[in-house]
């Protein structure tokens, strides 16, 4: 069942079309990734869904409430964390959460317990009486995430939640989002750091130039598009041996390209599924190739993203022309 559903969203800034007929369908309980390059329309889409922007055309519903007709109802069921957010000076960590809880009309007796539990959830319990501006970026990020939870929303919209975080903070954030999913939240998260989303998301939508090019589970999209993968293999031996190995790989079915790189690595363009890649490795070993490593060169999502965006399905005049009448398209 869809908990976030956008139909034909259009948003224009002067003559620039930021979102051009975008459709989105986010099932309940998913961690849904919005993938796209800078300027693809991710932030505009999230700002429309969070009622910060009114779409020029189209509508979106969150838990059945329309962002156009019932923005206040939408605000009660979602928590929004913008890509760049600030913190109030002269405010302690508990006061920050207390303030937002007051904004949602949560009674005083519940506020105190809720603040303690939320701080524990985001691992900021010991920082309760610290000033917000004194927290590290990662801690502020977690505090901002906690503020989205004060009213127990069904949906979380997180715009680039990991930007500016160090690797450790990213891992912690990822764990936190998984935990929130286990608590029944649907999380819509945007990012252009694809490996990060790949590890985290259960489904994705690939957005470019204001339209959804593909959406669904990564494996499903991959299957629909018959997208290939790039593998890298290292073979023991001299250059002749490596060249022979390259020639062997190039002769195999489903191998599109096989190149010997300067560092002795063989890069293999492979057009097959996981079964096929396992078979290829087994056959290579069986053929006597002394393989030391055999791995994917890039993440699935990265390949998928490159493949989908390379197809360039968006009309060339979309950035300058009038809003398109169609309601966007998805690869089904």
């Amino acid at each position: 069942m869809s908990i976030v559903k956008a139909t034909g969203l259009v948003k224009r800034y002067d003559r620039t079309l930021a979102v051009g007929g975008l459709d989105l369908d986010v099932p309940e309980g998913e961690i849904f990734g919005l993938v796209g390059p800078n300027g693809a329309g991710k932030t505009t889409t999230l700002r429309i869904l969070s009622t910060l922007l009114v779409p020029d055309a189209g509508d979106a519903e969150i838990a059945g409430a329309s962002v156009r007709r019932n923005p206040n109802d939408v605000r009660r069921v979602l928590g929004f964390m913008p890509d760049s957010f600030g913190v109030y000076d002269d405010m302690k960590v508990w006061e920050y959460l207390d303030f937002f809880a007051r904004c949602y009309g949560i009674p005083a007796d519940r506020r105190r317990r809720m603040i303690g539990d939320l701080l524990d959830l985001v691992d900021l319990g010991p920082k309760r009486d610290n000033y917000v501006q004194g927290l590290s970026r990662g801690m502020q990020q977690r505090l901002c995430l906690a503020h989205t939870l004060v009213h127990d929303p069904q949906v979380l919209l997180l715009d680039e939640p990991a930007s500016g975080l160090d690797p450790r903070a990213r891992v912690e954030l990822r764990e936190l989002l998984r935990e929130l999913r286990s608590l029944g939240k649907t999380i819509l998260v945007s990012s252009h750091i694809l490996p990060e989303l790949e590890e985290l998301c259960t489904s994705v939508a690939i957005i470019d130039r204001g339209q959804v090019l593909a959406q669904g589970r990564v494996a499903e999209i991959e299957q629909r598009l018959r997208v290939g993968a790039v593998f890298r293999a290292r073979v023991l031996g001299h250059v002749d041996e490596q060249e022979a190995a390259r020639a062997w790989f190039a002769a195999q079915p489903d191998v599109v390209t096989a190149d010997l790189l300067d560092d002795g690595t063989i890069e293999i363009g492979f057009h097959g599924d996981d079964e096929g890649s396992a078979r290829l490795l087994a056959q290579a070993v069986g053929a006597g190739l002394r393989i030391t490593t055999f791995s994917r060169a890039a993440s699935d999502l990265e390949e998928l993203f490159l493949q989908v965006t390379a197809q360039d399905p968006v009309p060339a005049d979309i950035a300058a022309g009038p809003p398109p009448a169609q309601t966007g398209w998805t690869i089904q």
């Binding site: 930021a18 929004f80 109030y88 303030f99 007051r102 519940r110 004060v150």
Partner: protein, 349 residues
């Protein structure tokens, strides 16, 4: 682990209409006042304020005492004269303080939220734009009210000298509060309109100068030109230009709190009151002066001007608040056409 979120928070109450607004106003006010009253800052500001007010009152009292008791050995009404002079000085000083503090307290109310990127967090809560604007204004006004309340014991010293009644003091403080409301609303409006707090502060300063010194100067210039028979069109009827040949309207000075305070001061005068003459000239209320415009101390234009000025300031404040609400609302209906850039997705981390 238990579900810490759902177990504790539960769904927020669905507040309706006015209750919703009150809840929002309370949330904003509490947050703002926490910030304003934290630490030593509030204590230091109130102390400096009181030292300034008390020191000024002492200097005025000493000055008047020396002036009135020198020469011919003073008059029988010297004490009342000192009381009135002290009252005038206090009203002018407090009006000045309010004129500086009220717009300064609200200049960053909205623009700082934009600069610090906290406005988005706020506007995605169910809190209404009205609650945000009113909450910000109320917290600024309550801070100014606190400073005014703290000054009451010093101002009340005038009662020990006489010449001023409690009703005069109440009227003076009402004008101060209305001035705080109006200039606070102006500051809030500018803050909602302009993106940068620095620009908002400068604009507020210009507005304060324009509405006080500026209107005063224009009024005097206009009056002088009219009294001297100066006609910019040489006597020909050319509509608007011709209207400049008439007296300047008193509405020109409605937003100048010093003039409103003059009317309050006029109420305390028994002799040849200079402030009464000024108010009479502004309101063109010669009949109220009696004796063909001569202020004889028996028939005075008391309380004829400041209620109108206060009403004008209150009504304009309400209009500014309504416009500010529209400017803050992310889904506002009235938009000033200006070029906007699309929000850009965050750069690579």
């Amino acid at each position: 682990m238990d579900d810490p979120v759902t177990a504790v928070t539960g769904r927020p109450r669905r507040l309706g209409g006015l209750r919703d607004v009150f809840g929002g106003v309370s949330a904003i006010s509490v947050k703002e006042l926490r910030g304003r009253m934290r630490g030593k800052r509030a204590f230091v500001i109130i102390t400096i304020h009181l030292l300034l007010v008390a020191g000024f009152a002492w200097m005025v009292e000493t000055l008047m005492e020396r002036t009135l008791t020198s020469g011919f050995g003073g008059t029988f009404s010297a004490s009342a004269d000192i009381g009135r002079a002290l009252f005038v000085a206090m009203l002018i000083l407090l009006t000045l303080i309010v004129l500086v503090l009220a717009p300064a307290s609200t200049a960053g109310a909205i623009s700082l939220e934009r600069e610090k990127q906290t406005l988005d967090l706020l506007t995605t809560t169910p809190i209404s734009s009205l609650a945000i604007v009113v909450g910000k204004l109320l917290s600024a006004l309550s801070w100014i009210l606190l400073l005014l309340l703290a000054s009451i014991p010093v101002t009340a010293l005038v009662f020990t000298f006489g010449g001023v009644g409690p009703d005069d003091m109440i009227k003076g403080y009402v004008v101060l509060l209305v001035t705080a409301l109006f200039y606070g609303s102006v500051g809030l409006f500018v803050s909602a309109l302009v993106k940068r707090t620095q620009a908002a502060t400068v604009i507020n300063l210009v507005v304060v100068i324009a509405l006080t010194a500026g209107t005063g100067f224009i009024f005097i210039f206009w009056s002088t030109m009219t009294n001297n028979g100066f006609m910019p069109n040489g006597g020909r009827d050319t509509g608007f230009i011709d209207s400049l040949g008439k007296r300047p309207p008193e509405a020109l000075l409605w937003f100048n709190p010093f003039i409103a305070q003059m009317d309050v001061i006029c109420g305390t005068e028994t002799g040849f009151g200079g402030s009464c003459a000024v108010i009479s000239a502004i309101t063109n209320n010669q009949a109220a002066l009696g004796n063909g415009g001569f202020d004889n101390g028996f028939v005075q234009p008391r309380d004829s001007y400041w209620p109108r000025a206060a009403a004008a300031m209150i009504i304009t404040s309400l209009v500014l608040i309504v416009i500010s609400v529209q400017l803050v609302s992310p889904t506002r209906r009235w938009r000033i056409r200006r070029r906007r850039r699309a929000p850009v997705d965050a750069p690579a981390a």
